[in-house]
Subunit: 330 residues, 4 copies
Amino acid sequence: MSDNAAAVHPAVWAAMQAADAPQPPYDGDSLSGALDEAFSALFGRTCTALWVASGTAANCLALAAMVPPHGAALCHQDAHIEQDECGAPGFFTHGAKLLLAGGDHAKLTPESVSARLAAVGKGVHHTPVTALSITQASEAGCVYTPGEVAAIGAVAREYGLRFHMDGARFANAVAHLGCSPAAASVDGGVDALSFGFVKNGGMGAEALVFFAPDLAEETRYRRKRAGHLQSKGRYLAAQILAMLKGDLWLANARHANAAAGEIAAAAADRLIHPVEANEVFVRLNGAERAALREAGFAFYDWDATAARFVTAWNSEQEEVLALAAALRNL
Amino acid sequence: MSDNAAAVHPAVWAAMQAADAPQPPYDGDSLSGALDEAFSALFGRTCTALWVASGTAANCLALAAMVPPHGAALCHQDAHIEQDECGAPGFFTHGAKLLLAGGDHAKLTPESVSARLAAVGKGVHHTPVTALSITQASEAGCVYTPGEVAAIGAVAREYGLRFHMDGARFANAVAHLGCSPAAASVDGGVDALSFGFVKNGGMGAEALVFFAPDLAEETRYRRKRAGHLQSKGRYLAAQILAMLKGDLWLANARHANAAAGEIAAAAADRLIHPVEANEVFVRLNGAERAALREAGFAFYDWDATAARFVTAWNSEQEEVLALAAALRNL
Amino acid sequence: MSDNAAAVHPAVWAAMQAADAPQPPYDGDSLSGALDEAFSALFGRTCTALWVASGTAANCLALAAMVPPHGAALCHQDAHIEQDECGAPGFFTHGAKLLLAGGDHAKLTPESVSARLAAVGKGVHHTPVTALSITQASEAGCVYTPGEVAAIGAVAREYGLRFHMDGARFANAVAHLGCSPAAASVDGGVDALSFGFVKNGGMGAEALVFFAPDLAEETRYRRKRAGHLQSKGRYLAAQILAMLKGDLWLANARHANAAAGEIAAAAADRLIHPVEANEVFVRLNGAERAALREAGFAFYDWDATAARFVTAWNSEQEEVLALAAALRNL
Amino acid sequence: MSDNAAAVHPAVWAAMQAADAPQPPYDGDSLSGALDEAFSALFGRTCTALWVASGTAANCLALAAMVPPHGAALCHQDAHIEQDECGAPGFFTHGAKLLLAGGDHAKLTPESVSARLAAVGKGVHHTPVTALSITQASEAGCVYTPGEVAAIGAVAREYGLRFHMDGARFANAVAHLGCSPAAASVDGGVDALSFGFVKNGGMGAEALVFFAPDLAEETRYRRKRAGHLQSKGRYLAAQILAMLKGDLWLANARHANAAAGEIAAAAADRLIHPVEANEVFVRLNGAERAALREAGFAFYDWDATAARFVTAWNSEQEEVLALAAALRNL
């Protein structure tokens, strides 16, 4: 019941195996070379796209391109980069700070962002904020509408900030919104997107997509320097291209979202957050959890009062219905 | 009306000039060599003391000795290391995080510390907290009693944390408490103290005092590596020894505290924080500030509703009384 | 004609696909959990083994475990960590230095190591050397005998240094030596080995093997912090286990070495270095290179006078013989 | 017999004491504010000048302004930044490399620089060299002529490098050359100069002078972040202004150079390097050193065969003559 450990999609396997013929190492192969064009087509503008092996690497390389060591990035207090990456942003940025702001459902708001930025001191005694990062979908499984992205993007522009989007579940967000991927990101001012594939049927390849081309060039050095320029990079590029082909990324996310929707419907009165992607946060006490686990369901204890269920691109309808029934029967 | 820009005490000048005869450079001179013994005598136990030129350097070298790059230190959300050092802790620790907790008057409490520590995730996805830092006196000019220090120290020990004290105004705190310097710090479990002298009549020398000798050795390398091992270090050691001699540090702090006390008495109904050291935070609206400034008083706008007055080792009684009168007349 | 871009071995593919069933993410799966035992069996002592995606990551995590930011590691002036990793050691170690020494065929000698170490200044003005790194096989494709490893290890012990081995082509070295993997590494005092698989039939998984268990624990945090803790780590573990199974790593390396041997025999009077692994450095002028390239052979221009040919686990006998013939006919 | 431990010049003392009246802290005071103009007048062009407490801080802040973390700076293999600063450049630049080149008397040459730069690989596997640093006077006490500076500056421009000059003994170099300070530095293309005063009669203040104004702005943040923005900075500015006033820096350096010249004349057949500044490297065996030490002379053992004598702004003629006589009598 987790998307970051699910199997790899057959089309991804096939694409990887089709990449077996020797090609120049690192990102000198034809598949890696095709990424820019593929993402440019998807987003309807010129993009530079680099593969990396993890979302943490994608996020932190983006931040390092946006924030000097003596600077800061603003993010939600529940953001993955703040909570779950063992200080990786501090590593990649050489010690820049994350400034935290709030907002319901792990989503920043223009107001929470503005208020936090207004409180930052000026001058050399304070770390200048040079970037802002939001998570699409958020840590609470909630989605920024295009309008919400744009409103935050406007604040970013007002303060001269670069705008990063952690899209570990970007596919699920777009599937929920039913809009173009551009509308959910770059149209609102996003400069760099960590476009996640691993949680959505990939194996070990995420795309770091730059809409601001000036940010990409030094990132190539930083990727190498962080040990993330794999020599057989064509196998990573193959995964990503397979996910883009025929919008497999979108189909996979729709499947996962639909499964989450069924679970959510069964636990409607227990939901902590609106279910807009593939995560369902359910109020459950200890006895209820024990009962569910005894019945064979796996989930993550979010905190003392809630559990998190995550669906995947390959969640089986039978299991989903069984869980929904079990939740209804609690 | 600020202590970090006041003149240098005559005894400090005299000691510096007495140090003019050539001696081995860096900290190979007899004055630098006398610091360990001087602080050991003052604190009643074996200390290792290093001079540095600024409180930021002292604080951050202490943190670097206590926190690995992938770790974190806990401090108050208003702490100087969090708010006013341009990310210096991130620089010296190579990207470690500061975790923030609250507490009235910019003082942590055992409860706020415990609650924050309990919320830290375990495992490699989270930065392990390895140190705790408090400010004595706090950013709000308030003082931890020996009991309060010890209570926080007990939490630190419980969680296996090192304990740092930012004592930029340690002298003012001890003067307020009327206890021994050890009671205000190491007796409560403090492992390293940034003992400030610059705000108290010194010129450009603070002492980083290690009560945990294992922390000192690598710090010598880090001090050099940060460009803080000045070649004519004897002039820094001379300042510190002059401040310790005859407890000049204490006399200076008492003078400043007394002046603050007079100002506080005049603004008793406007105080935001108890006045326990040499800082007075006074509720003042814009018109009142303008009137005071027109009358020739200098102070710092803390925020929209309050001003900060800071007294110094050499605040003149006449000026203090004039300010007190002006505040009463508002 | 390069090993870092060759295809993936069928047994590795099969093992990866067999790992498709969901398991706990990161390194919580059974395959990752089997690595310690597998390497312990291979080396005949307790090992801790972590997968990472690249040799750069393996090397630099090892160095970071051995060298403080203010320290230094000694390596050959031609070493990959010095020449080809875009400063990655400086990134992972937070600025530690690489001190360089010489030696024929890109191999350090006890003498070159001792001489360089003896010249390092003492005290806080100089970066203390705390580690030594050698490459097995070397950048020149030459192999340290067990005796040579042990002699250098003895110098490391004498100076209190940790000992790292970059084994990007460790398999080729062991295949050449005909000894146990332990004899080629840990028996000579090696504390950590970057055991390469990508160049030898793997896809994107190298093993960082710690023989000194104290070095492993903090490395888990650093791996996460560097974005190298992939969520579907079981696919990396599967690659490594497949390579170890039935000593596939050794069979693959023997194949590559044999191919290199045939090329070497054909260019015996043009060799710059003894051919002991799978790299052949051949003296070739511009016209000769052009002729070979026109004939369809691919190779790397090492410098103005030499070309490097690299064989792989799947070099085809026909191609190898054709190249050998072409070299003979020059 | 060392310049980095000599007394402080009386005019410097006087200027410091004249700065005792309270002024805004950090560099908000009128003395700090006068530095730009003072150096602009001295160099005949617009300069930005920042005080720092040590040459290491000045050098490394300059390098950090010129070299990204994934980059490299080229310097002489004997340079202070490479040999004697405990890896401080790696700290301030977040891990950038120093590439080393040779040249007699610790001076780079256009040829040694060009040859080293030509050998640097291109692309993301190699650290791009973005800066070049020379020492004026060199570690061997030798001076670059204006023509030599300009020739190296031309190579820097050719390769698009920033050009830093470590001028810990810049005064001695200018005194030797008899040219303008600009001719010895910026006229040859230097972008930033660490202008040393501590070895020349100052106490604890060096000037980091930027001729390329774009480099200065971020350096203000880095200075704060490194703990080098002292709150009573006016005492540092006062030292520097006193040294500049009436060209005291030049008079002091001439005195030291003259003293070195007398010692050199007495040991003319034992000199290892030309004596062009205030350092004299003399071939002396163990017995000779012992004899000199018994006679009361202090000096530094450079290596097994040579000793280094350093004169200062206040070297007494009597002592100098005594040493000269003793050297003649060996």
